[in-house]
């Protein structure tokens, strides 16, 4: 069941929804006011740790390639440090910087307008497909391309097709090649297939991806191996392992953001005249957190606080834990579900949904959550939902926060 009206779904009155919105606005204002030296120190320290790890990992691999004695432990340590560095860069640093979480520091070196991350997708395309399309139209069928990434069937409302029988395989492929899946995401293969994509824009995007992807491949699979002399093979294996670890980890975390049980989908009707407060409410109902210690949250890019991140995409990630306490209290106060659980359980639910939805609806049962007070809404028949073009979408909302594009990127708008 996809929700057509978030207010009706939660059984809150208009006044209650507005009051909730005001309380969330107050949290935002308070955090914005209190951003300061400690927050700046956090991101600067993290960047320092990440770059040191990356450099140390490369040095360890180089040393292990040239010193016979330390070959195996050196390789393992180097690969682990490199993998961790890539994970930190993509998740807690790159993703968050590109949301504009650190723009308030006025530091051009840590700014959404010019951050380029260590993965195949160009930052400019990420800011469009993620910051705008996914964050604004979160979980709205036909609008949010992150529902299944155009590859998987992740909602019962998406029409079944025999193609989806292969879903477990596509899932494994997507997980292992995640950075390349993400790289192609903003291209929108579906629209290209249907011939709806502007060929000029497509060419430009492809060139951008090719340039970025080429540099990434050259670095990990040509230049560093070449520097390793006779051990070039083990360097390739190390870099491949580090990239694979990053792919699997980011896939796992990202899939736990909106696909566990409890995160609901919405139909297009929800978007009509959606107020700021209703937008907040949709973000809360459409996202799922997971539980864990501080370290787990940092290597997950703070996406264990997916709900808080979707409410305030541009507030500094190190503040999400304190925001979460308050958001959770609001959920209790207004009787709104707050979806969370241990990481393994959340992913277990995702995997089960992937398996189930590879089959037609009538063969499986729904795991959709009961609404706070079950409304008598019939299961909506599944239908084909064409992906929307930007011209058919609403323009960027202020709730998405402060990220900016570079001078060059703006030329492409």
């Amino acid at each position: 069941m996809a929700v057509a009206d978030v207010q009706e779904y939660t059984h809150l009155t208009t006044e209650e929804v507005e009051q909730l919105g005001r309380e969330l606005d107050a949290i935002r204002a308070e955090i914005e006011e209190s951003r300061g030296a400690a927050d700046a120190a956090y991101i600067n320290r993290l960047i320092k740790v990440q770059r040191t790890l990356a450099a140390a990992g490369r040095v360890a691999l180089f040393a292990s390639a040239h010193a016979k004695k330390a070959e195996k432990p050196g390789w393992a340590a180097g690969t682990a440090m490199l993998g961790l560095a890539k994970i930190l860069e993509n998740m807690e640093i790159g993703h968050n910087v590109m949301h504009g979480q650190w723009d308030w520091m006025n530091d051009p070196e840590i700014h959404s307008s010019n951050w380029e991350w260590d993965t195949a997708q160009p930052a400019e395309q990420w800011k469009h497909s993620h910051n705008y399309i996914h964050h604004q139209f979160t979980n709205v069928l036909g609008h949010d391309n992150d529902i299944g990434y155009g590859v998987l069937r992740m909602a019962r409302e998406q029409r079944w097709h025999p193609y989806y029988l292969g879903q477990p395989v596509y899932n494994a492929l997507l997980a292992s090649l995640f950075q390349w899946g993400v790289a192609l995401h903003d291209l929108d293969l579906e629209r290209i297939r249907k011939g709806e994509k502007d060929p000029k824009e497509m060419k430009r995007q492809l060139r951008q991806i090719a340039r970025k992807g080429r540099n990434q491949i050259l670095k990990d699979y040509v230049v560093y191996p070449a520097l390793s002399g006779r051990s070039w093979k083990s360097t390739i294996a190390a870099n491949m392992t580090a990239n694979l670890a990053r792919n699997l980890w980011s896939y796992l975390i990202i899939f736990c953001g909106h696909f566990p049980d409890g995160a609901v989908h919405f139909t297009e009707e929800e978007l009509e005249d959606e107020t700021r407060a209703e937008w907040y409410l949709r973000q809360m109902l459409g996202s799922a957190n997971f539980e864990g210690g501080r370290t787990l949250h940092i290597v997950s890019g703070s996406l264990g606080y997916q709900i808080e991140h979707h409410l305030f995409p541009d507030l500094p990630s190190n503040r999400y834990p304190e925001i979460a306490v308050r958001v959770r209290a609001l959920c209790e106060k207004y009787d709104i579900p707050y979806t969370t659980g241990p990481l393994h359980r959340q992913y277990g639910q995702v995997l089960r949904t992937i398996m189930k939805l590879s089959l037609p609806n009538h063969l499986t049962s729904s795991d959709d959550p009961a609404p706070p007070e079950r409304a008598d809404t019939a299961d909506e028949p599944s239908r084909e939902r064409r992906r929307k073009s930007d011209a058919e979408r609403q323009p960027r909302r202020t709730e998405l926060g402060a990220w900016t594009r570079s001078q060059q990127e703006r030329r492409h708008a």
Binding site: G36, D39, A40, K212, N215, P395, R396, T398, T404
Partner: protein, 359 residues
Amino acid sequence: MASGNTLTWDRFRSAGSKLTTPLHPDDYLRLLNPLWSARELRGRIEKVVPETDDAATLVIRPGWGWHYDHRPGQYVGIGVQVDGKFQWRSYSVSSPPLREGRTISITVRAMPEGLLSAHLVKGLEPGTIVRLALPEGDFVLPDPPPARMLFLVAGSGITPVMSMLRTLDRRGTMPDVVLHYSSPTPERMIFRDELAALADKHEGLTLHELHTDLDGMLDLADLEALCGNWQERETWACGPGGMLDAVEQHWEKSGLSERLHLERFSLNLGGDDGEGGTITFRNSGKKIEVDGATTVLEAGEQAGVGMPFGCRMGICHTCTVTLVSGTIRDLRSGDEFGQPNEPVQTCITAAVGDCTLDI
């Protein structure tokens, strides 16, 4: 030789970016030494030299990428992190251009309402890393200097003139120079001793000190008495806005505008102008009609909106405000953009038609 080395080094680093992509080797090198990066210009505070009770000279050692060949009289941008946030201001360089050595000096007076200037004068420890912007400005000493010059300065307006005088002193070619320097009291006069020494050393340099707490402000009607041939002199004026306006009018009336140079810290952005239009400041409910050369920041200031600002040259993003609707043009590149609800840098953009801003 040195430049040859630099070139090889730059090439070496840019080759290294194959290893560090999407980052630059400098992003790693600065972890070893904060000055080893040319990505954003930076410098280290070497010394803070008190000049008066409320003014100090900051001696800064710039990092990679800096050019020491500023023209005497130009200003630089300095960005300092306060409470996690970079705040930018521009200050005239008070040191002469360097032929050797590795530092530049700026002299700053703590303004009563200026939090940042107070921080620079009192709160900056040697060793602090600051951001820098390359020298800018047309308020400069020509080379060769004119035969007869007049400097009208007040307060901290002495700093760019000091750079010019030091340059003339170092070259040993002091032409006929009259310096009229106003300050509330002798104690508040920055560089007082050095100026007196320069006036002793150089016959060509005449120094008039005016202590405005005792003797009142300079009346331009008295200029004739102070410096009989002022009309024959190339003049540089630097000081508070009110003084500059008065000087500008006076020179205009005498038909001598061409011989007058004013320091107003304004930037020539180079690109095409916008088309102008009505800019609406949504939250403050103010509106102003502007031409295409006025930046959005200037427009807001003219309309009486409390606009945030920093470097005023497009570096620091302090002035960023959300553009709700309409189109604006980047005055540096001529690019237009107008995606709704996108943050824009107001100091380097101008309106193309009507716009609404969220402030």
